[in-house]
Amino acid sequence: MARTVVPFGPQHPVLAEPIEIELTLEDEVVVEAIPGIGYVHRGIEAEAERRTFVQDLPLLERICGICSVAHAVAYAQAIEDLAQVEVPRRARLLRVFWFELTRLHSHLLWLGLACDAIGLEAQFQACWRIREDVLDLFTLTAGNRVILGVTALGGVRRDLPDRLQPLVRQGLDKVAAELHELADGIIANEAVAHRVAGVGVIPREKAIALGLVGPTARGSGVAIDVRASGYGGYDELTVAPITADGGDALARVVVRWMEIGQAIELCRGALDLVAGAPGPLVEHVPDRLRGEGVSRVEAPRGELFYYVAADGEPHPTRVRVRTPTFANLPAVLEMLPGTQMAAVPIALLSIDPCLSCTER
Protein backbone atom coordinates (compact mmCIF):
# COMPACT_ATOMS: atom_id res chain seq x y z
CA MET A 1 0.00 0.00 0.00
CA ALA A 2 1.26 3.47 -0.86
CA ARG A 3 2.45 5.54 2.03
CA THR A 4 1.73 9.20 2.57
CA VAL A 5 3.78 11.51 4.74
CA VAL A 6 1.68 14.12 6.51
CA PRO A 7 3.18 16.87 8.66
CA PHE A 8 1.06 17.21 11.80
CA GLY A 9 1.74 20.66 13.21
CA PRO A 10 3.66 22.71 14.10
CA GLN A 11 0.49 24.82 14.08
CA HIS A 12 -2.60 22.79 14.90
CA PRO A 13 -5.87 23.66 16.65
CA VAL A 14 -5.28 21.20 19.50
CA LEU A 15 -1.70 22.29 20.08
CA ALA A 16 -1.16 25.17 22.44
CA GLU A 17 2.51 25.18 21.46
CA PRO A 18 4.30 24.26 18.24
CA ILE A 19 5.58 20.77 17.56
CA GLU A 20 5.71 18.88 14.32
CA ILE A 21 4.99 15.19 14.14
CA GLU A 22 6.00 13.63 10.84
CA LEU A 23 3.25 11.06 10.30
CA THR A 24 3.65 8.29 7.76
CA LEU A 25 0.22 6.92 6.84
CA GLU A 26 -1.06 3.84 5.10
CA ASP A 27 -4.57 4.80 4.11
CA GLU A 28 -5.87 6.53 7.28
CA VAL A 29 -3.68 4.61 9.72
CA VAL A 30 -0.42 5.92 11.14
CA VAL A 31 2.50 3.55 10.64
CA GLU A 32 5.31 5.82 11.80
CA ALA A 33 5.53 9.03 13.80
CA ILE A 34 8.71 11.03 14.35
CA PRO A 35 8.63 14.18 16.47
CA GLY A 36 10.36 17.32 15.25
CA ILE A 37 11.04 20.06 17.75
CA GLY A 38 12.91 23.34 17.86
CA TYR A 39 10.23 25.95 17.34
CA VAL A 40 10.46 27.42 20.83
CA HIS A 41 14.03 26.58 21.80
CA ARG A 42 15.43 29.51 23.76
CA GLY A 43 18.81 28.24 24.98
CA ILE A 44 17.91 28.74 28.63
CA GLU A 45 20.39 26.11 29.87
CA ALA A 46 23.25 27.96 28.18
CA GLU A 47 22.00 31.31 29.46
CA ALA A 48 21.90 29.93 33.00
CA GLU A 49 25.66 29.34 32.84
CA ARG A 50 26.21 33.08 32.40
CA ARG A 51 24.20 34.26 35.39
CA THR A 52 24.70 33.96 39.10
CA PHE A 53 22.92 31.26 41.08
CA VAL A 54 20.37 33.76 42.38
CA GLN A 55 19.78 35.32 38.96
CA ASP A 56 19.13 31.87 37.50
CA LEU A 57 16.09 31.34 39.70
CA PRO A 58 13.75 33.81 37.93
CA LEU A 59 15.20 32.73 34.57
CA LEU A 60 14.50 29.04 35.12
CA GLU A 61 11.12 29.80 36.66
CA ARG A 62 10.17 31.20 33.27
CA ILE A 63 10.94 28.01 31.35
CA CYS A 64 7.23 27.28 31.59
CA GLY A 65 4.37 29.46 32.71
CA ILE A 66 2.16 26.57 33.73
CA CYS A 67 4.60 24.81 36.04
CA SER A 68 6.78 27.74 37.01
CA VAL A 69 6.71 26.72 40.67
CA ALA A 70 7.97 23.25 39.75
CA HIS A 71 11.01 24.64 37.92
CA ALA A 72 11.79 27.10 40.70
CA VAL A 73 11.55 24.46 43.42
CA ALA A 74 13.52 21.88 41.44
CA TYR A 75 16.35 24.34 40.78
CA ALA A 76 16.34 25.58 44.37
CA GLN A 77 16.48 22.00 45.67
CA ALA A 78 19.44 21.21 43.41
CA ILE A 79 21.30 24.25 44.73
CA GLU A 80 20.37 23.38 48.30
CA ASP A 81 21.63 19.84 47.71
CA LEU A 82 24.87 21.25 46.30
CA ALA A 83 25.30 23.70 49.17
CA GLN A 84 24.14 21.20 51.82
CA VAL A 85 21.58 23.66 53.16
CA GLU A 86 18.60 22.59 55.24
CA VAL A 87 15.40 24.40 54.22
CA PRO A 88 13.24 25.59 57.16
CA ARG A 89 10.14 23.47 57.78
CA ARG A 90 7.66 26.29 57.21
CA ALA A 91 9.26 27.06 53.86
CA ARG A 92 9.09 23.41 52.80
CA LEU A 93 5.38 23.26 53.64
CA LEU A 94 4.64 26.51 51.84
CA ARG A 95 6.40 25.13 48.77
CA VAL A 96 4.08 22.12 48.93
CA PHE A 97 1.04 24.37 49.10
CA TRP A 98 1.98 26.43 46.04
CA PHE A 99 3.23 23.35 44.23
CA GLU A 100 -0.11 21.53 44.61
CA LEU A 101 -2.02 24.65 43.65
CA THR A 102 0.09 24.65 40.48
CA ARG A 103 -0.85 21.03 39.80
CA LEU A 104 -4.49 21.94 40.31
CA HIS A 105 -4.49 24.75 37.75
CA SER A 106 -2.30 22.82 35.30
CA HIS A 107 -4.62 19.81 35.28
CA LEU A 108 -7.66 22.07 34.91
CA LEU A 109 -6.04 23.84 32.00
CA TRP A 110 -5.29 20.50 30.33
CA LEU A 111 -8.78 19.19 31.03
CA GLY A 112 -10.26 22.25 29.38
CA LEU A 113 -8.05 21.81 26.32
CA ALA A 114 -8.98 18.13 26.13
CA CYS A 115 -12.69 18.97 26.30
CA ASP A 116 -12.19 21.57 23.59
CA ALA A 117 -10.41 19.01 21.39
CA ILE A 118 -13.30 16.57 21.58
CA GLY A 119 -15.96 19.19 21.03
CA LEU A 120 -17.26 19.79 24.55
CA GLU A 121 -17.22 23.57 24.52
CA ALA A 122 -19.32 24.02 27.67
CA GLN A 123 -17.01 21.80 29.71
CA PHE A 124 -13.98 23.56 28.27
CA GLN A 125 -15.32 26.90 29.46
CA ALA A 126 -16.31 25.46 32.83
CA CYS A 127 -12.81 24.05 33.42
CA TRP A 128 -11.16 27.32 32.58
CA ARG A 129 -13.62 29.27 34.70
CA ILE A 130 -12.79 27.08 37.69
CA ARG A 131 -9.12 27.51 36.90
CA GLU A 132 -9.62 31.26 37.26
CA ASP A 133 -10.64 30.63 40.86
CA VAL A 134 -7.34 28.83 41.40
CA LEU A 135 -5.45 31.71 39.81
CA ASP A 136 -7.29 34.03 42.20
CA LEU A 137 -5.79 31.99 45.03
CA PHE A 138 -2.36 32.55 43.51
CA THR A 139 -3.04 36.27 43.42
CA LEU A 140 -4.28 36.21 47.00
CA THR A 141 -1.27 34.35 48.38
CA ALA A 142 1.57 35.30 46.04
CA GLY A 143 0.48 38.51 44.34
CA ASN A 144 0.91 37.00 40.88
CA ARG A 145 -1.29 34.88 38.66
CA VAL A 146 1.17 32.66 36.78
CA ILE A 147 4.84 33.26 37.52
CA LEU A 148 4.59 33.29 41.28
CA GLY A 149 8.12 34.27 42.28
CA VAL A 150 7.66 32.80 45.74
CA THR A 151 10.62 30.45 45.74
CA ALA A 152 14.02 31.49 47.04
CA LEU A 153 17.29 29.59 47.26
CA GLY A 154 17.13 28.10 50.73
CA GLY A 155 13.41 28.67 51.30
CA VAL A 156 10.59 30.92 50.15
CA ARG A 157 10.26 34.66 49.59
CA ARG A 158 6.72 35.04 50.88
CA ASP A 159 4.86 33.90 53.94
CA LEU A 160 1.23 32.87 54.14
CA PRO A 161 -0.19 34.78 57.12
CA ASP A 162 -2.67 32.90 59.28
CA ARG A 163 -5.31 35.58 58.64
CA LEU A 164 -5.35 34.52 54.97
CA GLN A 165 -5.99 30.88 55.74
CA PRO A 166 -9.81 31.14 55.97
CA LEU A 167 -9.96 32.89 52.60
CA VAL A 168 -7.72 30.30 50.98
CA ARG A 169 -9.76 27.45 52.44
CA GLN A 170 -12.97 29.05 51.19
CA GLY A 171 -11.42 29.27 47.75
CA LEU A 172 -10.41 25.61 47.82
CA ASP A 173 -13.89 24.61 48.97
CA LYS A 174 -15.42 26.60 46.14
CA VAL A 175 -13.18 24.90 43.57
CA ALA A 176 -13.98 21.48 45.01
CA ALA A 177 -17.72 22.18 44.88
CA GLU A 178 -17.55 23.40 41.29
CA LEU A 179 -15.59 20.34 40.26
CA HIS A 180 -18.17 18.12 41.93
CA GLU A 181 -20.86 19.72 39.77
CA LEU A 182 -18.71 19.24 36.69
CA ALA A 183 -18.00 15.56 37.28
CA ASP A 184 -21.13 14.33 35.50
CA GLY A 185 -20.25 16.36 32.44
CA ILE A 186 -16.73 15.02 32.09
CA ILE A 187 -15.65 12.02 34.03
CA ALA A 188 -19.06 10.30 34.03
CA ASN A 189 -19.89 11.45 30.53
CA GLU A 190 -20.46 8.56 28.16
CA ALA A 191 -19.56 10.73 25.16
CA VAL A 192 -16.15 11.47 26.63
CA ALA A 193 -15.51 7.82 27.34
CA HIS A 194 -16.45 6.81 23.81
CA ARG A 195 -14.26 9.49 22.33
CA VAL A 196 -11.06 8.78 24.24
CA ALA A 197 -11.27 5.11 25.22
CA GLY A 198 -8.83 2.95 23.30
CA VAL A 199 -6.98 5.94 21.85
CA GLY A 200 -3.20 6.19 22.20
CA VAL A 201 -2.70 2.95 24.06
CA ILE A 202 0.63 2.46 25.83
CA PRO A 203 0.87 -0.92 27.57
CA ARG A 204 2.42 -0.98 31.02
CA GLU A 205 5.55 -2.82 29.85
CA LYS A 206 6.13 -0.27 27.10
CA ALA A 207 5.63 2.62 29.51
CA ILE A 208 8.33 1.16 31.74
CA ALA A 209 10.64 0.41 28.81
CA LEU A 210 10.32 3.95 27.47
CA GLY A 211 10.81 5.50 30.90
CA LEU A 212 7.57 7.46 30.83
CA VAL A 213 6.70 9.63 33.81
CA GLY A 214 3.79 11.39 35.47
CA PRO A 215 0.13 10.86 34.62
CA THR A 216 1.16 9.36 31.27
CA ALA A 217 2.95 6.51 33.05
CA ARG A 218 0.38 6.25 35.83
CA GLY A 219 -2.36 5.92 33.21
CA SER A 220 -0.56 2.79 32.09
CA GLY A 221 -0.62 1.38 35.60
CA VAL A 222 2.95 2.35 36.55
CA ALA A 223 2.91 3.60 40.15
CA ILE A 224 5.64 6.21 39.79
CA ASP A 225 5.39 9.49 41.68
CA VAL A 226 8.40 11.39 43.02
CA ARG A 227 6.28 12.82 45.84
CA ALA A 228 6.14 9.36 47.38
CA SER A 229 9.89 9.70 48.11
CA GLY A 230 9.02 12.44 50.59
CA TYR A 231 11.15 15.25 49.17
CA GLY A 232 10.63 18.77 50.45
CA GLY A 233 7.58 18.92 52.69
CA TYR A 234 5.96 15.79 51.28
CA ASP A 235 7.55 13.73 54.04
CA GLU A 236 4.80 15.03 56.34
CA LEU A 237 1.95 14.27 53.94
CA THR A 238 0.67 11.02 52.54
CA VAL A 239 0.89 10.79 48.77
CA ALA A 240 -0.16 7.55 47.14
CA PRO A 241 0.42 7.40 43.37
CA ILE A 242 -2.91 7.41 41.52
CA THR A 243 -2.91 4.86 38.73
CA ALA A 244 -5.40 3.57 36.21
CA ASP A 245 -5.43 0.54 33.97
CA GLY A 246 -5.97 0.66 30.26
CA GLY A 247 -3.02 2.78 29.20
CA ASP A 248 -5.22 4.81 26.86
CA ALA A 249 -6.30 8.44 26.75
CA LEU A 250 -9.28 7.66 28.97
CA ALA A 251 -7.02 6.27 31.68
CA ARG A 252 -4.92 9.43 31.55
CA VAL A 253 -8.08 11.58 31.87
CA VAL A 254 -9.12 9.56 34.92
CA VAL A 255 -5.68 9.86 36.54
CA ARG A 256 -5.58 13.63 36.12
CA TRP A 257 -9.14 14.03 37.35
CA MET A 258 -8.32 12.06 40.50
CA GLU A 259 -5.12 14.02 40.98
CA ILE A 260 -7.09 17.27 40.95
CA GLY A 261 -8.91 16.06 44.05
CA GLN A 262 -5.66 14.82 45.54
CA ALA A 263 -4.05 18.22 44.98
CA ILE A 264 -6.88 19.98 46.83
CA GLU A 265 -6.46 17.61 49.76
CA LEU A 266 -2.70 18.16 49.81
CA CYS A 267 -3.22 21.94 49.77
CA ARG A 268 -5.50 21.63 52.77
CA GLY A 269 -3.04 19.32 54.52
CA ALA A 270 -0.17 21.73 53.90
CA LEU A 271 -2.24 24.64 55.23
CA ASP A 272 -2.96 22.67 58.41
CA LEU A 273 0.73 22.05 58.95
CA VAL A 274 1.80 25.59 58.07
CA ALA A 275 -0.51 26.94 60.77
CA GLY A 276 1.48 25.10 63.42
CA ALA A 277 4.94 25.64 61.98
CA PRO A 278 6.32 29.04 62.95
CA GLY A 279 9.88 29.77 62.08
CA PRO A 280 12.19 31.30 59.52
CA LEU A 281 11.36 31.23 55.83
CA VAL A 282 14.80 31.04 54.29
CA GLU A 283 18.27 29.73 55.00
CA HIS A 284 21.36 31.47 53.63
CA VAL A 285 22.97 29.91 50.56
CA PRO A 286 26.59 30.88 49.76
CA ASP A 287 27.21 32.94 46.62
CA ARG A 288 29.96 30.62 45.38
CA LEU A 289 29.53 26.88 45.24
CA ARG A 290 31.64 23.93 44.22
CA GLY A 291 30.42 20.45 43.40
CA GLU A 292 27.33 18.80 41.96
CA GLY A 293 23.71 18.65 42.99
CA VAL A 294 20.64 16.88 41.64
CA SER A 295 16.97 17.35 42.31
CA ARG A 296 13.75 15.61 41.30
CA VAL A 297 10.23 16.91 41.81
CA GLU A 298 6.84 15.71 40.63
CA ALA A 299 5.70 18.48 38.29
CA PRO A 300 2.10 18.38 37.00
CA ARG A 301 3.25 16.45 33.91
CA GLY A 302 5.62 14.17 35.77
CA GLU A 303 9.15 13.93 37.06
CA LEU A 304 11.22 17.08 36.59
CA PHE A 305 14.98 16.56 36.97
CA TYR A 306 17.69 19.14 37.54
CA TYR A 307 21.45 18.64 37.58
CA VAL A 308 23.67 21.55 38.58
CA ALA A 309 27.47 21.59 38.52
CA ALA A 310 29.61 24.38 39.94
CA ASP A 311 33.36 24.94 40.15
CA GLY A 312 33.65 27.72 42.70
CA GLU A 313 32.63 30.56 40.41
CA PRO A 314 29.58 32.74 41.21
CA HIS A 315 27.71 31.07 38.35
CA PRO A 316 27.00 27.40 37.60
CA THR A 317 29.18 25.46 35.20
CA ARG A 318 26.21 23.52 33.93
CA VAL A 319 22.48 23.49 34.52
CA ARG A 320 20.77 20.49 33.03
CA VAL A 321 16.97 20.37 32.93
CA ARG A 322 15.11 17.18 31.99
CA THR A 323 11.43 18.02 31.78
CA PRO A 324 8.55 15.52 31.95
CA THR A 325 7.45 16.06 28.35
CA PHE A 326 10.99 15.37 27.17
CA ALA A 327 10.68 11.98 28.88
CA ASN A 328 7.18 11.40 27.53
CA LEU A 329 7.87 12.41 23.93
CA PRO A 330 9.11 8.91 22.96
CA ALA A 331 5.58 7.75 23.80
CA VAL A 332 4.39 9.14 20.47
CA LEU A 333 6.65 6.63 18.74
CA GLU A 334 4.79 3.87 20.54
CA MET A 335 1.19 5.02 20.71
CA LEU A 336 0.64 6.69 17.35
CA PRO A 337 1.48 3.78 15.01
CA GLY A 338 -1.80 1.92 14.49
CA THR A 339 -3.86 4.98 15.38
CA GLN A 340 -6.41 6.43 12.97
CA MET A 341 -5.38 9.84 11.66
CA ALA A 342 -8.53 11.39 13.15
CA ALA A 343 -7.55 10.20 16.63
CA VAL A 344 -4.00 11.59 16.50
CA PRO A 345 -4.91 14.96 18.10
CA ILE A 346 -6.54 13.29 21.10
CA ALA A 347 -3.69 10.81 21.48
CA LEU A 348 -1.07 13.54 21.33
CA LEU A 349 -2.96 15.81 23.70
CA SER A 350 -3.39 12.99 26.20
CA ILE A 351 0.29 13.13 27.21
CA ASP A 352 -0.22 16.83 28.00
CA PRO A 353 2.75 17.99 25.95
CA CYS A 354 4.51 21.13 27.11
CA LEU A 355 6.94 22.30 24.46
CA SER A 356 8.20 25.34 26.35
CA CYS A 357 9.47 22.91 28.98
CA THR A 358 10.74 20.38 26.48
CA GLU A 359 12.86 22.73 24.44
CA ARG A 360 13.87 25.17 27.15
Binding site: G38, S229, R290, G291
Partner: protein, 181 residues
Protein backbone atom coordinates in the same frame (compact mmCIF):
# COMPACT_ATOMS: atom_id res chain seq x y z
CA UNK B 1 33.99 19.66 46.54
CA UNK B 2 30.81 17.63 46.78
CA UNK B 3 30.28 15.15 43.96
CA UNK B 4 27.26 12.95 43.37
CA UNK B 5 26.92 9.93 45.58
CA UNK B 6 26.22 6.53 44.01
CA UNK B 7 28.23 7.58 40.98
CA UNK B 8 30.51 5.13 39.16
CA UNK B 9 33.32 6.31 36.89
CA UNK B 10 33.49 4.08 33.81
CA UNK B 11 35.28 4.09 30.48
CA UNK B 12 33.28 4.99 27.39
CA UNK B 13 33.32 1.49 25.81
CA UNK B 14 31.84 0.04 29.01
CA UNK B 15 28.72 2.21 28.79
CA UNK B 16 26.35 -0.06 26.80
CA UNK B 17 27.26 -3.08 28.91
CA UNK B 18 26.78 -1.25 32.21
CA UNK B 19 23.51 0.21 30.95
CA UNK B 20 22.31 -3.27 29.97
CA UNK B 21 23.05 -4.54 33.47
CA UNK B 22 21.11 -1.66 35.01
CA UNK B 23 18.20 -2.23 32.63
CA UNK B 24 18.09 -5.92 33.52
CA UNK B 25 18.11 -4.93 37.18
CA UNK B 26 15.01 -2.73 36.74
CA UNK B 27 16.63 0.70 36.65
CA UNK B 28 14.90 3.44 34.65
CA UNK B 29 16.91 5.90 32.57
CA UNK B 30 16.14 9.37 33.90
CA UNK B 31 18.34 11.35 31.53
CA UNK B 32 21.94 12.20 30.71
CA UNK B 33 23.91 15.36 31.37
CA UNK B 34 27.05 16.54 29.67
CA UNK B 35 29.63 19.22 30.38
CA UNK B 36 31.98 20.49 27.71
CA UNK B 37 35.42 21.26 29.12
CA UNK B 38 37.65 24.06 27.84
CA UNK B 39 40.12 21.54 26.36
CA UNK B 40 37.42 19.95 24.22
CA UNK B 41 36.90 16.96 26.50
CA UNK B 42 33.50 16.06 27.92
CA UNK B 43 32.10 14.83 31.19
CA UNK B 44 28.96 12.81 30.53
CA UNK B 45 26.66 11.56 33.26
CA UNK B 46 23.85 9.05 32.79
CA UNK B 47 21.26 9.12 35.58
CA UNK B 48 19.15 6.07 36.52
CA UNK B 49 16.36 5.62 39.07
CA UNK B 50 14.80 2.66 40.81
CA UNK B 51 12.55 2.78 43.84
CA UNK B 52 13.22 6.49 44.43
CA UNK B 53 16.98 5.87 44.49
CA UNK B 54 19.35 7.44 41.96
CA UNK B 55 22.60 6.04 40.57
CA UNK B 56 24.86 7.69 38.03
CA UNK B 57 27.43 6.58 35.47
CA UNK B 58 30.17 9.11 34.82
CA UNK B 59 32.27 9.03 31.66
CA UNK B 60 35.27 11.31 31.13
CA UNK B 61 35.40 11.47 27.36
CA UNK B 62 38.59 12.84 25.73
CA UNK B 63 38.27 15.35 22.89
CA UNK B 64 38.97 12.70 20.25
CA UNK B 65 36.79 9.96 21.75
CA UNK B 66 33.39 8.64 20.74
CA UNK B 67 30.67 7.72 23.18
CA UNK B 68 28.66 4.62 22.26
CA UNK B 69 24.91 5.05 22.30
CA UNK B 70 22.72 3.18 24.78
CA UNK B 71 19.72 3.42 22.47
CA UNK B 72 19.71 -0.33 21.92
CA UNK B 73 19.29 -0.83 25.67
CA UNK B 74 17.07 2.13 26.50
CA UNK B 75 15.07 3.04 23.34
CA UNK B 76 14.04 6.43 24.77
CA UNK B 77 17.68 7.52 25.00
CA UNK B 78 17.58 8.71 21.40
CA UNK B 79 16.19 12.12 22.36
CA UNK B 80 18.71 13.02 25.03
CA UNK B 81 21.60 11.63 22.98
CA UNK B 82 20.59 13.65 19.94
CA UNK B 83 20.31 16.70 22.16
CA UNK B 84 23.80 16.18 23.57
CA UNK B 85 25.18 15.85 20.05
CA UNK B 86 23.56 19.06 18.90
CA UNK B 87 23.77 21.37 21.88
CA UNK B 88 27.01 20.20 23.50
CA UNK B 89 28.80 18.62 20.58
CA UNK B 90 29.27 15.26 22.31
CA UNK B 91 30.35 12.69 19.69
CA UNK B 92 27.94 9.77 20.06
CA UNK B 93 28.03 6.80 17.74
CA UNK B 94 25.39 4.21 16.86
CA UNK B 95 22.22 6.09 17.77
CA UNK B 96 19.03 4.23 16.88
CA UNK B 97 17.35 7.39 15.58
CA UNK B 98 19.88 9.92 14.39
CA UNK B 99 18.65 13.42 13.65
CA UNK B 100 22.03 14.25 12.12
CA UNK B 101 22.76 17.01 14.61
CA UNK B 102 19.43 18.67 13.90
CA UNK B 103 17.09 17.62 16.67
CA UNK B 104 16.16 21.26 17.10
CA UNK B 105 14.98 22.67 13.82
CA UNK B 106 17.20 25.09 11.96
CA UNK B 107 15.03 27.39 9.89
CA UNK B 108 17.91 28.72 7.83
CA UNK B 109 18.50 25.61 5.73
CA UNK B 110 16.89 22.48 4.41
CA UNK B 111 16.25 19.79 6.92
CA UNK B 112 15.60 16.11 7.05
CA UNK B 113 16.09 13.16 9.29
CA UNK B 114 19.02 10.87 8.76
CA UNK B 115 18.61 7.35 10.06
CA UNK B 116 21.92 6.11 8.73
CA UNK B 117 25.43 6.79 9.99
CA UNK B 118 25.87 10.55 9.81
CA UNK B 119 29.47 10.14 8.70
CA UNK B 120 28.59 8.34 5.46
CA UNK B 121 27.15 10.23 2.53
CA UNK B 122 23.80 8.65 1.70
CA UNK B 123 21.24 9.46 -0.98
CA UNK B 124 18.19 11.21 0.47
CA UNK B 125 15.57 8.85 1.83
CA UNK B 126 11.87 9.17 0.88
CA UNK B 127 11.30 10.63 4.34
CA UNK B 128 13.94 13.28 3.77
CA UNK B 129 12.49 14.15 0.40
CA UNK B 130 9.05 14.38 1.94
CA UNK B 131 10.41 16.61 4.68
CA UNK B 132 11.97 18.87 2.05
CA UNK B 133 8.77 19.10 0.07
CA UNK B 134 6.49 19.64 2.99
CA UNK B 135 6.66 23.41 2.53
CA UNK B 136 4.58 22.91 -0.61
CA UNK B 137 2.42 20.12 0.77
CA UNK B 138 -0.85 21.93 0.05
CA UNK B 139 -1.09 22.33 -3.72
CA UNK B 140 -4.23 24.11 -4.92
CA UNK B 141 -5.73 22.58 -8.06
CA UNK B 142 -7.81 24.57 -10.56
CA UNK B 143 -10.94 23.48 -12.42
CA UNK B 144 -8.77 22.17 -15.22
CA UNK B 145 -7.06 19.85 -12.78
CA UNK B 146 -3.73 21.61 -13.13
CA UNK B 147 -1.80 23.01 -10.25
CA UNK B 148 -2.33 26.72 -9.81
CA UNK B 149 0.55 27.36 -7.44
CA UNK B 150 3.41 29.64 -8.38
CA UNK B 151 5.94 27.77 -10.50
CA UNK B 152 9.01 28.61 -8.48
CA UNK B 153 10.00 26.94 -5.24
CA UNK B 154 9.30 28.74 -2.01
CA UNK B 155 12.91 28.19 -1.06
CA UNK B 156 14.65 31.37 -2.26
CA UNK B 157 17.62 31.13 -4.60
CA UNK B 158 20.23 33.81 -4.30
CA UNK B 159 21.60 35.82 -7.21
CA UNK B 160 24.97 34.21 -8.07
CA UNK B 161 26.43 37.68 -8.77
CA UNK B 162 25.43 39.02 -5.41
CA UNK B 163 26.49 37.93 -1.98
CA UNK B 164 23.19 38.41 -0.22
CA UNK B 165 20.48 38.49 -2.88
CA UNK B 166 20.40 42.28 -2.98
CA UNK B 167 22.95 42.89 -5.71
CA UNK B 168 20.56 44.36 -8.32
CA UNK B 169 20.08 48.06 -9.04
CA UNK B 170 18.59 49.96 -6.13
CA UNK B 171 14.82 50.19 -6.21
CA UNK B 172 14.86 53.40 -4.24
CA UNK B 173 17.37 56.11 -3.63
CA UNK B 174 18.76 59.28 -5.24
CA UNK B 175 18.15 59.78 -8.96
CA UNK B 176 21.07 59.31 -11.37
CA UNK B 177 21.81 61.12 -14.60
CA UNK B 178 21.11 58.04 -16.74
CA UNK B 179 17.98 56.89 -15.02
CA UNK B 180 16.57 60.21 -13.94
CA UNK B 181 13.43 61.54 -15.67
Amino acid sequence: MRLLSDCALIAAPELPGRAALLRADGWRLVTASSIRRSDGAFTVLYHFERGERLVHLRIELPAVGVLPSIGSVYPAAFLVENEMVELQGVPIGGMTIDYGGRLYRDFDRLEGWVHEDAGVEQPPSPLQIAATLRLDACVPVGISGREVRAPQSRIPTLDPNGHDGHAGPPSAGPRTDEGGA
